[in-house]
Symmetry: C2
Amino acid sequence: MKTEITSAFIKRYRSVVRDVMLPFQWRVLNDEADITIARERKNDAGIPTEKSHALENFRIAAGRTEGEFYGMVFQDSDVYKWLEAAAYCLMQGDDPALKKKTEYVVDLIADAQEDDGYLDTFFTIKEPKHKYKRLVESHELYCAGHFMEAAVAYYEATGNQKVIETAKKLADHIYDCFGPEEGKIHGYDGHEEVEIGLLRMYHLIGEEKYLKLAEYFLLERGRHPGFFLDQVKKDDMTPVFPGMEYAPATYFQDHVPFVEAEAAAGHAVRQMYLCTAMADLAATTGNEEVKAACERLWKDITNRQMYITGGVGATVNGESFTFDYDLPNDTMYCETCAAVAMVFFSRQMLRMEDSADYADVMERSFYNCALAGMALDGEHFFYVNPLEVDPEKSDKDPGKSHVKPVRPSWLGCACCPPNLARLIASIDEYVYMVKGRDVYVNLYMASSMSDGVIRVIQETDYPYSGSIKLRVVNDGADARVALRIPGWCEKYTISAPYELKNGYAFVKCPNGETRITLDLEMKPERNYANAKVSEDAGLTAVSYGPLVYCLEGVDNGKYLHDLLLPSEEEIKTHREDDLPGGVVTLTADGIREDSPDGALYSRKKKTRTLQELKWVPYFSWGNRGENEMRVWVRES
Amino acid sequence: MKTEITSAFIKRYRSVVRDVMLPFQWRVLNDEADITIARERKNDAGIPTEKSHALENFRIAAGRTEGEFYGMVFQDSDVYKWLEAAAYCLMQGDDPALKKKTEYVVDLIADAQEDDGYLDTFFTIKEPKHKYKRLVESHELYCAGHFMEAAVAYYEATGNQKVIETAKKLADHIYDCFGPEEGKIHGYDGHEEVEIGLLRMYHLIGEEKYLKLAEYFLLERGRHPGFFLDQVKKDDMTPVFPGMEYAPATYFQDHVPFVEAEAAAGHAVRQMYLCTAMADLAATTGNEEVKAACERLWKDITNRQMYITGGVGATVNGESFTFDYDLPNDTMYCETCAAVAMVFFSRQMLRMEDSADYADVMERSFYNCALAGMALDGEHFFYVNPLEVDPEKSDKDPGKSHVKPVRPSWLGCACCPPNLARLIASIDEYVYMVKGRDVYVNLYMASSMSDGVIRVIQETDYPYSGSIKLRVVNDGADARVALRIPGWCEKYTISAPYELKNGYAFVKCPNGETRITLDLEMKPERNYANAKVSEDAGLTAVSYGPLVYCLEGVDNGKYLHDLLLPSEEEIKTHREDDLPGGVVTLTADGIREDSPDGALYSRKKKTRTLQELKWVPYFSWGNRGENEMRVWVRES
C-alpha cells in the first residue's frame, strides 16, 4: 500500500519536520546548534545539558576520533530516531542533502558496531566490561530496538543493504545472548523497545528467530522478579541512575506478566511500548491470551487513565501511570513520547480488530497531545504536555517545575522531539488500512492511497471541516470502503448506502469508480469528565471535531480559573489565518469573576462581569510567549 | 496576671494533654510505648523510625548508661517541649506523679550538660569535635532555645532553681561562643528558636546579655551570605542532612536581613519562629525598623499566604512558603508547628499594637489548623494539615504521600505533638492581656483572670455560642475592658456603652463590679477566597464563629468534589453529642453530581440529585477512620 498526503495541515507539519526539525536536530546531534538545553525539572543535576554529543559518541566508538562518551546512557537512540524520521522523509521524495547525511550515519553506525554485532556507544567507549550486566538502567536493548526500527524504515525507503545487515548482525548478537537456553541471559531490558524493533525486523525479513526472541522478551517479562536487582548486585559498574534497581517493579512493568496485568502501571512510555509490541505479537501470532490482555489494558487506559488530549502518565514521579480517574491537570507528565506510543498501540490494535474506538484514540492522541509536543516553528519541544499551566507556578513551585509554560529548544533527555518527527513523517501509514477487499479510512486527511488494485482519493479540509469527498477507483473485484464514524461525531450523512459495524460505515465499491461524500457534523462541543475525576469537577473541555481546545492568557488575560462559560451559551467558530494554513478558533460570551475587595478571604460573593472567551486548538498553545493555559474551563 | 480556664471545650483538651498526651509522650520518649512511628512521606528513608530514644540519649550523654545516639539530630527538643508542656500543667494544679517525672528530667538534663555549659546530646555523644561547626543542620541552638523556654516555664511553675541554673549556664556558654567580638562565631543557627528562648530568659531574669545575644542572632541573620556553606566546607563531619548547605538561602530566611524582607519565605516553621522572636524583640526594645518589618510580613502572610484554617506553608518542598495566592489544598504542608507559631507571632504583635486583627488570626490558627494537629484521643497527631484529602491519592500518588488521611500515633520527626501540647497547656496566657488599666479580652473562653487589682470572670459556651457574659470586679481606679470584636462577626450587641477602636470595644469599668453581656451573632457563613487563588475558584468554605468546617466522607459519601452547596441554600446548625462536650454540626440541602454513564469523557452533562450535606468542625476531622475530607466546597 502506498499513501500520499495532500492535506495542507499535515503537509505543513511534514515540511517543518523535513526542512526545519531534521536539519535542526542534525545540528544538535552534531553539537553545532546554538541552543540552551533545558533540564526536565529543577535540581535534576543528573541530566547532561552541555551538548548532545550523540554523533560524536558514534565517531569515538567507531575509532574515527578519540574522546569520552557524553550524554544520557541512551543517547544513541536520538540518532536512530532521527534516522528513522529521515527515512520516512526520503520515502516522500528525493532529498540528496538529507540522503547524504543518512548515508553518513548508516556508515558511522556500522563502523561503531563491534565485530560480534554488539552496538551501544556508551558501553563500547566507557564500560566495555559491563555489557548486558545492568539491564535495569543500561538501555542497551532499548537503543538496539530503535536502531532496528530505523534500519527497517531506511531499508524500505532506500533499499540500503548495509543498514539492514548491521541491524541483523545486532539482532543475531542479541539472540545469541538472551533466551531460555542455558548459558544465555534469562532477562530483559529495563525499558521496552527492542521488542518493537525485533518484530519490525521479522515483518521485513521473515526471520523466525527475531519473532521468537521478541516473544521471549515479551512473555518472560514479569516472570523474573529480582532479575534487575540481582544483576546490579553482581556488577561493580558505577551506576548510571543510582538506585534505579530499587524502583518498584511496576515502573518497569515487571511486577506481573503482561497476560495477567489488569491495569496500566509504571513509566508510561515503557508501558505503551510494551503494549505496542504485545499487540503486534498478538496480531502476528494470533496469541489470544496476549490479545485479551491488550484489550484489557486498552480499556483500562482509555476508560480510566487517559487525558482528554490523549496523553497518559498522571504523575512526574516515575513519569508514570497512577490509578483510576487520577488525572491532575497541572502536575501530570503526559509525555509526548507516551502520546506518540498511544498512536502506535492504537494502530496495532486496529490490525487485530476493526473497531473505530482504536482509531478514535489514535486521532485524539495524534492531533492533541502528540502534536502539542512541537512548536509551530519546529525548533522547540514539550516533553510534558499539561492541561493547565500558570507560568508563575512552574517557576516557583518545585512540584511543578517539570511543567514548562513554553517549549524549550532541546531537552537534556531528548527522546521526544525525534519520536514525534518519526510519527509525523510516517503518518501516511496510519491513514488507511487494507484487510482483504476492505479499505479502512482510519484518519480523515486529504490524501490518496493505492494497493495496486484499488485507489482512494480523499479530499477534505479536516481537521477543520467534517466534509470529506472520496473517489474510489477499483480495478478489481467488488470491494468496500470502511469509513470511520468518529466518536466525537453525533450526526453525519453519507451519500451512498452503507452498513454500520464497529463504528465503521461500509460502502460497497464495485469495479470502476465510486464517489462518496461523507459529512460529519463538526461543531463546538462541551465535554465532561467522569464524576470520579476530582480535578475536572464543575469544568468543561471544549472540542471541535477531533481537536481539543484551550484558553490562553494572551487571548483571555490572567487568572483563567476565574473565567466561566455559561451553561447554555453558544460557542462560535472563526476561521483565522494566525497559523500557517489557517486555524479555527472558538469564542463565546463568558463571565469573569473577581474579588469584591482585596481581602484574602471574604464573606462577599465574587463579582461577575461579561468577557468574551477565546479558545485555540490545544496543539497550538504556547506559541505566543509564556502565558497561562487551561483546557478544563469552569462552567456556570 | 493569673488566668484560670473553666471552658469545658478547652478543659477537655487540657485534660487530654495532661492525662493522655503527656503520659503517652513520656512512654514514647522512654521507648516504652507500643507504637508505629510514621514516616512523613514515602521513601524518606533518612528519618529514624525505630524508636524515639530521646531520654536514652540524655542518659548516655549524662554517663548514666552506655550506648549510641539515636534519632533526629534535634531529638533533644522533644524532651524539652514535653517538659515545657508539663510545666504548664503543673501551673494548673498539683500532680505529684508528673512532678516526679519532670524532676527526673531536669536532673537528667543537668547531668547531660558538659562542664562548660554546652548541651546537646547528639554532639556530646556522637560528634564532640564538631560542636557549632555545622550550624546549617546541627540544630544545636534550636534545641538550646527549646530548653530555655522549658526552663523558664518550669521555673515559673515550680520555682526549681536547678533548671534555671542549667539554662543560664547554657545561655552563657552560647554567649561566649557567638557574637560580633573577635574570636567568636559570626553566625547563627539554621533553624531559628534560640532567639525566642533567650528573650524569655531575659524577660525572666533581666540579664542584658541574653537580650544582646538574641538581638545579635536576629539582626545578623541574612548578613552573612555563605556562612552555612563555608562552615560545612571547613568541617569533615558526616552530614546529618546531606546537601542541606546548598538549600536556597530563603529556606533559612538567610537571603536578606529581616528588616529588608518584603515577604515570608522558606521553611514555614523557621520563618514563623523568626517572626515571633522579632516581634518580641521589637516589643521589648522598641526597635521601629524591626516592628515595621514584622508588620510587613504579618500582612504578607495573612493577606496572601495563609490558609483559611490559619495554616501556612504551601508546599512540601522545603515545607515552605511559596508565593502570593498560591494555596493548593491537597499538596500543601500546613505544619501543625507552623500554626502553633502563628499563635506565638500573633501574641507578640498584640504586645506592640492592640489591633484585633492579630487576635483574629491567633484564634483562627488555634481553633482550626493547630487543634486539628491532635486527634480527640490525644494519642494521634498530624504534622500536615490539608484542606482536602482523598485517602487513595495519599496512598498512591507519591506527590501526596505526606498528606495523611488519619493521624499517625507518632512521627519520626516528632516536633509537632509536644509543640501543640505546650500551646494547649499554656493557652490561658493568650486569653487576656493587660496594658495599663485596660484588660483586653483577646480570646473568648470561659475563664477568669486577675492581676491583683482587677478580676474578670468570663462565662460563655464559645466557640459554639457567641453569647459572652463578663463580670468585672475592679478593686482599683477606673479601668476598661477591651472586648475584641471578631473579624468573623458582622453583628453584635454589648449591654454597656462602649467605644470602638482597632476592633476592640472599650467598656468602662469603674471601681466595683461591672456586668457586661456581649452577644456576637454566630451563624453559618460562606467564605470566598480571593479571585487570585486558583485552587479555590468556584468554591466556598463554611464557617461558624471562629471555626472552619469541612465535609467528611463518613457523613457525605465518596467523591466530595461532586457535592455542591446551592448558592442561596440555608445552612442549619445542630448541637450534637458526638464529641465530648458536644459539637455544633452544620447541614444544608445540597446537590450531588454524577456521570450519566461510565464514560471517561462524555458530551452529556452530569446528572444532579439532592443530597443533604453535613459539615463538622475542621479541628475534629479524621477522627472516625480514613475518609475523604474537603474544606472548600463547590457552590452552584
